[in-house]
């Protein structure tokens, strides 16, 4: 690891802290860059060295390549870990770092460019014999796009070619409003990604989202770290992930993981990557996309394999060869991750804001909390609503579910509405427990997943609210006891 002298963490929130922890344990100096709205964040507090960045908006500050190059020059960092989101899958960024002689902890710019674009990635994968779903690509012939989309068959999923994270995606169930929906998708693509090109593919009803963690080094070695099941999604974004997938037989698991390593090898992938597949109820799977970065949900893989994936990323970036083979990577036990988000699940997942007045993280056997917030911090809409991740490990899935539920119930976050009770509800659902879910599960079960308060709970809540209301208690205390008692008798 001698090549890496100092690492700049070009991210924020829980992932900045998670990366910093690995750097500290490895004895590599780390620098946390931050916008002033994040000055109270845990990663900024825990870092030995920090670097203040500016921008028109907080998000713009983290997306500014010049900011990061300047941070490297000032601090002497010779490597950058991009985390996920922001510039993690930005090829010009990887190129700019290479030109400045700074190591990008991730794949090469060429691979990001090839796999980051859904259209080129799919063509590449399809040409090498890996399975893909029926589709239509706008730029093949824009004039006939709507017509070709109709031919893919309904329902059809339309998404920006340059997109990710569910932004701008729409499902169209029949041909009636197709042209209009295509136009809308194009506008959203232009707005979010400055790229209106679209891509459409057959929407597989009740599919599961299963992905495989892959790794490659600079010496031609490729391995996988098994799969993750990420079918529990709201608005196309994952909120619960687990491994192993309850849907796969050992043969299917082997098949999907082998396909993923094959794809990593075909592109000459370096570092940590994820190959995402759509898994049909009938057992077929199709390549969806490749994420050329560390995923939000990587910790579940770490829990069942015992590897620190950030550490492995550092080794690969430093030019070292993988010092293990596929046979060394075993999957033991079960792990579930819940994304704790500042949002109101009962109000269509509206983002919530406020000050975190009280935070108390769960503890116990097999419990890991990767958090980006601490008590006293303000939660704003400046960034993604994810506050932290609860990752739980147990010997088997059943124990893992109940352990996760208890941890969610023990997780105190007051002052900002979060989804912990909603996540608990999902984990209690009989279909989740039996593993019978798909990516539309949350939308389909929305009514069942709503919160309700029993009369008994309500009595306790109103009592707690009344007795901790200083103004109310003081006003009550002023009434002479004799009259109050009389009033009471009159009831």
């Amino acid at each position: 690891m001698q090549k890496i002298k100092k690492v700049l963490i070009a991210n924020r929130g829980e992932i900045a802290l998670r990366i910093l922890r690995t750097l500290k344990a490895a004895g590599i100096p780390g620098v946390v860059m931050y916008h002033r709205v994040d000055r109270g964040a845990p990663a900024v507090r825990e870092a030995e060295e920090t670097y203040l960045i500016e921008g028109e908006t907080p998000v713009a500050a983290y997306l500014d390549i010049e900011n990061i190059l300047a941070a490297c020059r000032t601090t002497g960092a010779n490597a950058v870990h991009p985390g996920y989101g922001f510039l993690a899958e930005n090829a010009p960024f990887a190129k700019a770092l290479a030109e400045a002689d700074v190591i990008f902890i991730g794949p090469t710019a060429d691979v990001i460019e090839l796999m980051g674009d859904k259209v080129s990635a799919r063509k590449f994968v399809e040409a090498r014999g890996f399975p893909v779903a029926p589709s239509a690509i706008e730029e093949d012939d824009p004039a006939t796009f709507v017509e070709r989309v109709a031919k893919v068959g309904f329902p059809v999923l339309i998404k920006p070619a340059a997109g990710g994270g569910g932004k701008g995606m729409r499902v169209v169930y029949d041909g009636a409003n197709l042209a209009e929906e295509v136009e809308r998708g194009r506008r959203e693509g232009e707005r979010y990604f400055a790229d209106g090109r679209l891509f459409a593919e057959r929407f597989i009803e009740n599919p599961r989202h299963i992905e495989v963690q892959v790794f490659g080094d600079q010496h031609g070695n490729y391995v996988h770290f098994w799969e993750r099941e990420c079918s529990i999604q709201r608005r196309f974004q994952k909120i619960i992930e687990e491994t192993p997938s309850p849907a796969l037989s050992p043969e299917q698991r082997q098949e999907i993981c082998t396909a993923a390593v094959g794809i990593a090898e075909a592109v000459g992938y370096q570092g940590a990557g994820t190959v995402e597949f759509i898994y049909a109820p009938t057992g077929e799977f199709y390549f969806l996309e490749m994420n050329t970065r560390l995923q939000v949900e990587h910790p579940v893989t770490e829990m069942v394999t015992g590897y620190d994936l950030v550490y492995e990323q550092l080794r690969v970036a430093a030019g070292e060869a993988l010092n293990y083979t596929q046979a060394d990577i075993t999957q033991t036990g079960h792990s579930i991750e819940c994304r704790i988000c500042a949002e109101d699940a009962d109000a269509d997942f509206a983002p919530a804001i406020g000050k975190l007045l009280k935070v108390r993280e769960p503890v116990g056997p097999g419990i890991r909390v990767d958090s980006g917030v601490i008590e006293g911090q303000d939660v704003t809409t400046a960034f993604d609503p994810m506050l932290s991740k609860l990752i739980v490990y147990a010997r088997d899935r059943q124990q893992c579910i109940t352990r996760t539920q208890q941890a969610l119930r023990d997780y105190v976050l007051l002052g900002v509405t979060t989804n912990t009770a909603y996540l608990d509800k999902i984990l209690s659902h009989s279909d989740f427990i039996s593993g019978d879910v798909h990516t539309g599960f949350l939308a389909e079960q929305a009514d069942v997943l709503k919160q309700n308060l029993s009369q008994d709970t309500l009595d306790f809540l109103l009592s707690a609210a009344a007795l901790t209301d200083e103004q109310l208690c003081n006003a009550v205390a002023e009434i002479p006891e004799l009259y109050a008692a009389m009033g009471h008798w009159r009831n």
């Binding site: 306790f460 006891e481 009033g487």
Partner: protein, 167 residues
Amino acid sequence: MKREFVIGSESYDVLLNKALGEYHLDVGDRQLAIQAEEIGSGEYFIYVDGRKQRAFVAVDDENTYIHMEGKAVTIQRIDPFEKIMGGDGADGSGSSLLAPMPGTVISVNCEPGQQVSEGDVLMVIESMKLETTVAAPREGIVEQVNFSAGDTFDQKALLVSLQAEEE
């Protein structure tokens, strides 16, 4: 002393009494004997008719946040007296469409004075990177349109209002 507590879309009128050193809470037609014991910073045992629950409580100017029985609930506190003085109650039968969260206006599909039917799209907005339509909640005449395409707005901003219905 009265309080109105609001949980989600439900509102509860309660009356707190203290008699002979004990607190009583009137909820609807029931009276509960209640007590709180602070066992740590923001951590309590709450007793209701002799039964006990552990609670974490945090309070700000507007709300009380309680974590109890494994989940957090936000309770808005309303002083009935302030509510009357604030005049924030009856606003006629006009309809105000407020922004559910901060965002950007994508398009404005109506203008003041226009007759609209229930369900008509009045505006298309984008919040949290998703397009949402603002539809007319009833038939009526558009009174105000406060934003143009491209404008940004805050949570609870008045986007569009309909004229009050005539009786």
